[in-house]
Symmetry: C2
């Protein structure tokens, strides 16, 4: 079974339209490239009970879970507490993280900043790449911060641990509309029921009208399906295949 | 009670990182401006059962629900079917929509394209603004297409029907870090427990270190809270208030 993943974005600022999230799109693309199938993304408020509920459900439903946001020293940073509650464990202060914070802040270290040394009891500290501060993983749940530059640096440092068999993709660009195309897609899926097929119209593109995507983990199956599809389409319908 | 909303994005292409959604961010910002509080956003695959489950849950939990994507003539356009199943009604072909499609496609109208005349039985056709094709609303669920230009045009045409009392916002930009700021925020929330307070660090901004947002539907309460907060902060901490 290929690996599946879910992404939980935590932050009132996303729901209220103050900031535009960039982390989900980044993670969807990166995980796909790694062969991991993202099945669900959710955006929820900075609320311990909601975070706990969502993390518990995602952790059961998917092989990998990533959270983004709600990590830091202020009152609205409650992700660690939510993850701990989801797993039924207390929040504890990790001595190694305390040492790192002491070294970083020196005499300006406050009690509030020490919240960043807190983890769900039993969580793993993932030391990877050139990270100064390790990542926190509680069972299959990876806790990442919301700030995009840091989110990416922290994910990139450990990305290879998530790699699975690749998902192969072919794009067929056609100059016929979706109304006409639909029958060809149905015929294709009749012959290749395991194929993942997408159909994306482009209303303002002069070159083609629809991009059709064919995907499979089995390269041979994909090649056969592509040949079948190209054989069925009217000769002048295909603009290009990539 | 102020209006709440949930947003359901439907599309494998978002989860697989092929396209970056722009509709959720747009809707979060617009709804906020209208005084509507978005409580949850979810991205799910083009799967009838999942859509039905999510739409049923959102429709119960929130005053307004918006779906984006999965509307069209091809095999992966199953949103209408999902919404119908969520509400326990069949999908029916609406004569008025058939007429509109006949007028638009003329002799090129296919059986597949006629799927765009299908609605959940009992759904409302929302005729608004200069829309050529009406919006579909099933109880509190508004079904919108995924293509951003069309999504916006269709939402904008009916946006005024969602307006509620405004949410007032003040931004305080400070040059102290979150570790120090946390105590001031906790004190503020101690005195003004109904205030919504956000704290957003900016690591690469030379002008300030954290943007603090104070929000309330009650303008007087917000003004009092702002005065209290500014009175507590060290005099040189505040960069600006907007």
């Amino acid at each position: 079974m290929p690996k599946t993943a879910g992404i939980i974005l935590i932050g009132n600022e996303i729901l209220s339209g103050k900031i535009i999230d960039a982390n989900a799109a980044y993670l969807c693309r990166e995980l796909r490239e790694l062969g991991v199938e993202v099945r669900r993304v959710v955006v929820i408020p900075d609320d311990v009970a909601l975070i706990a509920e969502e993390v518990a459900a995602f952790s059961k439903a998917f092989d990998l879970v990533f959270t983004s946001g709600g990590v830091g020293p202020t009152h609205d940073d409650v992700t660690i507490e939510g993850v701990a509650r989801a797993m039924g464990v207390p929040v504890v202060r990790h001595p190694e993280l305390v040492t790192l914070l002491e070294r970083y802040y020196r005499e300006t270290l406050t009690e509030a900043a020490l919240r960043m040394a807190e983890i769900p009891e039993g969580a793993e500290l993932v030391v990877a790449g050139d990270l100064r501060f390790p990542n926190v993983a509680m069972r299959n749940v990876y806790v990442l911060p919301g700030v995009p530059e840091i989110f990416r640096r922290k994910f990139d440092a450990m990305r290879e641990r998530f790699r699975d068999a690749p998902i192969h993709l072919k794009n067929v660009f056609v100059r016929i509309g979706e109304g006409t195309l639909a029958d060809y897609l149905n015929a294709l899926l009749g012959s290749f029921p395991l194929l993942a097929v997408g159909s994306y119209p482009e209303f303002s593109n002069p070159e083609y009208r629809v991009k059709v995507t064919l995907e499979s983990r089995d390269r041979g199956y994909l090649e056969q399906a592509l040949a079948d599809f190209l054989g069925r389409l009217p000769g002048d319908a295909v603009v290009k295949v990539t």
